[in-house]
């Protein structure tokens, strides 16, 4: 028998094994193990929801007490259903501690009733147990819960870095796939009445060692390529690689790479200062095999922006030898690369990227000095109890009325952030700030923004332990 089995909802915590109000009947319940989801759509974790069935006696000193206890169960499942459908603020969760287990306070959010639930739509008959001097009714609860059991979160914080430096955080070793919430802090909004001046930013994550930032101007060779100083616009390391012409290549040599993997995602900070659109393709080579990404259009007369080329993949598991950026245009174009990023996404459950679209603020909002933070919720961590949707929340606005407020941001990509080990690395990448021409996000003092990252990991359990 379990040591703990409770349901928590707005009315409090219902102890299903207290023997006074509820008692699970013998063999009345055992946890169901969740399978993997078939769908590739994120936001709810990689494991499917499961249906739980608990048969229990609902007890009370009077028939009225029994009915009140049944009503509490029904209300809890009602709230769970309404929460999942989006019209109730707080989640309902099942908490379970197996006897002799080491994982404490495991919980799983309940998403609502399952077919056959007897807390609603059935006739309840009260029985009087004269030996125990108690009234009771026996019913079977059936509900849907998240597939994974979660523990309370643990956190780790990275050092403060200047973008596009990699942020690293060390967590205690725990190998099962576990969701992570992220808070990026340190944005110096200063006191001016400024909205967040980057129209978009990127959060990129992988395991420790799965990220690499490579300066554009560190190329090994190419055709139509040159190095151009652009410290005025805060180019990383002060310079960019420039392609000029209608056809050419910038290539990066074999000694450049520290990241290896079967699938590598490539992002780059680029701009086009010419009047003609240009086409750019990233092409990787491993032991003679070339693999290309799809081609990206870099439109004419554009300010710096982060572009995601997608992935290249290698079945032979070798180290990347070369990476080329191939350029073409119908008329001469000028495309600059400040830096590019290599991400090992071989295990897509622990690596990825999300583009954050900063269009969700009120133009009358202002920033408080140093108070801005970006909070990324994968949708299946403990945060799901308050908002069961993957999301990016920006906090620290000083609204026109003076109160601190926050606003959910737009996002492109599923921030299904998780780890399998103890290391977590990430990048916060943004252009713009005080000028749209800036390669890196600058604050009101015209200084490249420094940020840190706090990882809040919720250990997950497929089977309670």
């Amino acid at each position: 028998m379990a040591q703990t089995l409770t349901i928590t909802y707005s009315g409090g915590t219902l102890n299903l094994i207290d023997g006074t109000n509820y008692a699970v009947v013998r063999d009345g319940w055992a946890p169901t193990v969740a399978p993997l989801r078939e769908t590739p759509i994120g936001g709810v974790g990689p494991y499917a929801d499961v249906a739980e069935e608990i048969t229990l006696n609902v007890r009370g000193a009077t028939a009225a007490t029994v009915y009140a206890n049944v009503a509490a169960l029904a209300q809890a499942l009602d709230e769970a259903d309404r929460w999942w459908r989006g019209d109730y603020p707080s989640g309902v969760y099942l908490r379970y501690q197996v006897g002799g287990g080491s994982g404490t306070n495991l919980f799983a959010a309940i998403k609502g009733r399952a077919s056959g639930d007897e807390t609603a739509g059935v006739k309840l008959t009260i029985t009087y147990d004269s030996a125990a001097i108690i009234y009771y009714t026996t019913l079977t609860m059936r509900f849907i819960r998240y597939g994974l059991w979660l523990q309370n979160p643990e956190t780790a914080t990275s050092a403060t870095v200047t973008q596009p430096a990699i942020m690293s955080a060390s967590l205690a070793t725990y190998t099962p796939l576990s969701p992570c919430k992220i808070t990026i802090s340190g944005f110096d909004g200063n006191t001016a009445d400024l909205p967040f001046k980057s129209p978009e930013s990127w959060f990129v994550w992988s395991y420790n060692g799965g990220l690499q930032v490579i300066e554009g101007e560190s190329y090994a060779g190419g055709a139509g390529v040159s190095t151009v100083a652009d410290s005025t616009n805060f180019a990383s390391n002060g310079s960019v690689a420039r392609f000029t012409g209608t056809s050419g290549v910038i290539n990066y040599g074999s000694t450049t790479y520290t990241v290896t993997g079967r699938r590598l995602m490539i992002l780059a900070a680029m701009r086009n200062t010419s009047a003609n659109d240009g086409l750019v393709t990233a092409r990787g080579r491993v032991t003679g095999n070339y693999v290309s990404t799809r081609t990206i259009v870099v439109k004419a007369n554009t300010n710096p922006a982060i572009y995601n080329f997608g992935t290249i993949a290698f079945g032979i598991g070798a180290r990347l030898d070369y990476l080329d950026f191939l350029f073409s245009a119908s008329a001469s174009t000028t495309i600059d690369i400040d830096y590019w990023v290599l991400v090992d996404v071989s295990d897509s459950t622990i690596a990825g990227a999300v583009r954050i679209i900063h269009n969700m603020y009120n133009t009358t909002d202002t920033f408080g000095a140093g108070a801005i933070s970006v909070n990324i919720n994968p949708g299946w961590s403990d945060d799901s109890l308050t908002r069961p949707t993957q999301s990016v929340l920006m906090s620290g606005f000083a609204a026109s009325g003076g109160a601190s407020v926050s606003a959910y941001q737009g996002m492109d990509g599923a921030p299904s952030i998780a780890t399998r080990g103890n290391g977590f690395t990430a990048l916060f990448l943004a252009t713009g700030g005080q000028s749209a021409a800036h390669w890196r996000f600058t604050n009101t003092s015209n200084i490249v923004q420094t940020v840190s990252m706090t990882v809040s990991r919720t250990r997950s359990y497929l089977v309670p332990q």
Binding site: P40, V44, R85
Partner: protein, 515 residues
């Protein structure tokens, strides 16, 4: 993992992440890019109604790490009392069907030329009806004075041509070969007018000298909507023509009117104009970028649109082929970021390798042609036929010949290209196949998520012997895909080869665990 999100428009305000609400759905791609996406969402009724009543069209995007897997505009919205919401969206190619397009690009025929009358715009006070012989016989423009009629400078013989009413483009070049046999004092001329009848310019003129004169007309001028060929007495006062009918005349042959100053009208210029036209009206629906439009380098001599659907017309242009030997068919459509592509078919496609676990393969002669000729027309509208071209490289021992329509072109060269394009595409046997596979690999052997497979990509069966294949894809061991469909709930992929035939041509893959 993938994300499904709604925005107010492409690049517009982010509205909602709807990933967790998806209870079922699928997306498809076809030869024109992203085809459609249909999903059912489980929402509370108020949210469902809110989405239902939002002004549209909303933009829906399925993305992986910010990279579009599918995106398009939501056109069909259905909601129910229980809060379920069905959304159906179509890719950016759909925008090319939003607006009818009218414009002349080039014409070399005499269709549309007629005798001018005084009520035509700009012709009042200039035309003498019924005093001239006027015809378009044999693809010529011909005007001749008639015996015993009197003529003044305002009693002219005129032929008139109207560009499509309220079209997007005006004529800017006129070329022809002129033969002029006129007495002294007579003048032949070509004039350009606006739609309102205001003279733009005199494109060309030549005064008679009693002898046969020839000239090559090549005029470039400001945009005009009306062209006129005129024959007039320019010697002052009144003259009476005493010669026999047909003794003197002006005759134009080999005429060409263009609405571009480009020496030739290539399909890429038209495609770019379509993009500009649609983007100019619906800037949020198609990108202004023409970076993915390339030229087939075939001069389109006769191309005119009246209330035409740009999507349909682009598809026709893509099928005309290019000037290579053998000609390549083009593809047109739009993938991510609403950028229209018009390029050699398959040039941007990826090649995927599969190991079949179930196979039924049937070869058919349906659709197989080893020989072809094209039909086209001369300037007067007479149907002409090219010589026959044959290709038996696939080893078929009989001749199966196809008559290919080259439309209204008067160009024997273009007709030949269209013939060869068709022959090149139909000379190999067409397979019917049902193939089952579990995963797709790239050339290095790496497995890829099945949702990366798109129409236009090539699928190679790598555990099937290369028994035939003069070209890639050979359509037996390898297929170019014309359609893919991915089930968002189960992760299953269905694909169709480009030579989709009525019976079997569906390949089905099942998402392998972990992909």
């Amino acid at each position: 993992m993938l994300q499904l999100a709604l925005s107010s428009s492409y690049g517009g305000a982010f509205l909602a992440d709807i990933s967790r609400h998806v209870t079922g759905g699928s997306f498809s791609t076809n030869v024109h890019g992203f085809a459609d996406l249909a999903v059912t969402l489980d929402l509370n009724p108020m949210d469902a109604y809110a989405y239902f009543t939002l002004p549209g069209p909303l933009w829906i995007k399925l993305s992986e790490s910010g990279l579009p897997i599918w995106e398009g505009r939501v056109e069909d919205v259905t909601t129910r009392l229980d809060g379920t919401l069905d959304l159906r969206a179509f890719g950016a190619w759909r925008a090319m069907s939003d607006l009818p397009y009218t414009a002349l690009w080039s014409t070399t025929t005499v269709d549309g030329w007629r005798a001018a009358v005084a009520t035509d715009p700009g012709q009042s006070g200039a035309v003498a009806e019924n005093r001239f012989s006027i015809d378009t016989n044999g693809g010529r423009l011909y005007i001749a004075p008639q015996k015993n009629n009197s003529y003044t400078a305002t009693a002219q013989g005129r032929m008139i041509y109207f560009l499509p009413s309220n079209g997007s483009r005006g004529a800017v070049t006129f070329s022809a070969s002129a033969t002029v046999l006129l007495p002294t004092g007579w003048l032949a001329a070509v004039y350009a007018y606006t739609a309102a009848g205001v003279l733009v310019t005199t494109v060309w003129s030549l005064t008679g000298n009693g002898s046969t004169q020839t000239a090559t007309i090549s005029g470039t001028f400001s945009s005009a909507d009306i062209l006129v060929l005129a024959l007039l007495w320019n010697g002052g006062g009144t003259t009476t023509y005493a010669n026999e009918n047909g003794d003197f005349y002006v005759k134009l042959t080999g005429i060409r009117i263009k609405t571009t100053t480009s020496a030739s009208v290539y399909a890429d210029e038209i495609a770019k104009a379509f993009v500009s036209f649609v983007n100019g009206v619906n800037s949020s629906q198609i990108s202004s970028s023409t970076a993915l439009i390339s030229s087939p380098s075939n001069d389109l001599t006769d191309i005119s649109y009246a209330d035409a659907n740009p999507a349909d017309e682009l598809a026709k242009l893509a099928n005309l082929g290019d000037n290579q030997t053998p000609p390549n068919i083009y593809e047109v459509g739009a993938w991510e970021d609403q950028v229209l592509y018009f390029r050699k078919r398959g040039s941007a496609g990826r090649t995927w390798y599969i190991d079949v676990r179930a196979l039924t393969l049937q070869r058919s002669m349906d659709g197989l042609y080893t020989s072809a000729y094209a039909t086209y027309q001369d300037a007067s509208g007479r149907t002409l036929r090219t010589t026959t071209s044959s290709d038996t490289s696939a080893g078929v021992s009989i001749t199966r010949r196809q008559a290919v329509s080259a439309g209204t072109t008067t160009s024997a060269t273009l007709a030949g290209v269209i013939r060869d394009t068709s022959l090149n595409d139909t000379k190999n046997p067409q397979p019917r196949a049902t193939i089952g596979f579990d995963a797709v690999y790239d050339s290095t052997g790496a497995t890829w998520p099945l949702y990366y497979v798109r129409a236009g990509d090539t699928l190679v069966i790598r555990n099937f012997p290369a028994v035939i294949g003069p070209s890639t894809p050979d359509r037996l061991r390898s297929f170019r895909l014309s359609r893919t469909s991915f089930d968002l709930k189960t992760g299953a992929l269905s694909v169709e080869p480009e030579t989709a035939l009525p019976s079997l041509d569906v390949l089905v893959a099942r998402l392998a665990a972990g992909l």
